[in-house]
Amino acid sequence: MTKHIIELLDEKPFDRFSEAEMVTIRQHISNCAECEKAFEAARVSTVLLNERKASTHEPSAFFQTRVLARLREREASNEVWNFGRLWRATSALASSMVATVAALAVLTLVLPAETSVTSQETVSVNRYSAEAVILNQSQFGEELQSDSQVLTTLYGSEEEVVR
């Protein structure tokens, strides 16, 4: 018996075997029932595939209209989606701007006030520092006068006050 031809059958479609190959196949299947079954199945498979090739479907009359309608629908939904995306981007930008403005306001208004309080405190703690002396010269001048001197300035000499 010649070599089984099953693998040969799967190498190419049935209708593309050469004359010589067909002679070899026919010789073998005349003595091999197993390969004969495979040969018949390969032949029918090729007929089936060829029949499939022959069947056709034409586009329906409304096919084009339906596709164009789907395209428009999709474009419209894309626009809505794009608007949504734009809106989200805008709100994110607005939020960040508000946050920035708030931060700037805090830096501008609160921090300088705190700084002035601190300098006043410094002055009150150390009244005789060079800075305090320079800034509050007149104040210190007044405080250096005794109470009696102030009274004298206001009401004249002690004697005059007694009178």
Partner: protein, 192 residues
């Protein structure tokens, strides 16, 4: 290329013209993979929706038809992958006409005088049912190579697979199809 450029720029009438020219080809191609007319229409619709979206990527190096065929191949393959595969087709699942057609083949009644439109339709439908039992990639290779006479190089171009992958797939797909048909033939009452 002009049509493609115009369609890319949003000219709807140019895209309608592309559809008018190429939809018969797309339908014929999708028809090889799906038995139901509605599935063929769905596949064709998906192809043109994708084509419209991806027109920007069409650089005009190849033909518009070739570009659309590649989209059709991928679309059909994806649809086959997502659809439920029949595990096996038994002879008890066959219609009376399908059994009759197989009996005719076994009895050698495939001559011209026995050919008719009805018998061809039965055979085409049976082919679709047998193919549906195979993995999607096997269906693609068999349909293209054995059904459409496409060369290995053409399949490589359409799918992006290597040549050796196409050859191996074709070999295995033929064997699976042959075994499926052999099972059906073995259970026919009038077998030789």
């Amino acid at each position: 290329m002009d049509l493609a450029r115009l369609a890319r720029e949003g000219d709807e009438s140019a895209f309608a013209e592309i559809m008018r020219r190429y939809s018969p080809r797309v339908f014929n191609f999708a028809n090889r993979f799906f038995r139901e007319r509605s599935q063929v229409e769905d596949a064709a619709q998906e192809v043109f929706l994708k084509a419209f979206t991806e027109l920007r990527s069409f650089e005009g190096r190849g033909s518009l038809e070739g570009w659309l065929t590649r989209i059709t191949t991928n679309t059909c393959l994806n649809m086959l992958r997502s659809s439920k595969r029949r595990p096996e087709l038994k002879s008890s699942d066959l219609t009376e006409d399908e059994s009759g057609w197989l009996e005719g083949q076994m009895a050698g009644l495939a001559s011209e005088q026995h050919k008719s439109v009805e018998r061809s339709m039965v055979a085409a439908d049976l082919a679709g049912r047998v193919l549906a039992t195979l993995p999607p990639e096997d269906q693609l290779v068999l349909t293209m190579m054995d059904g459409e006479d496409a060369s290995v190089k053409e399949i490589v171009k359409l799918t992006g697979w290597s040549e050796s992958k196409v050859k191996v797939k074709a070999f295995r797909a033929r064997r699976r199809m042959r075994e499926a048909v052999e099972q059906l033939l073995a259970r026919q009452p009038n077998k030789r």
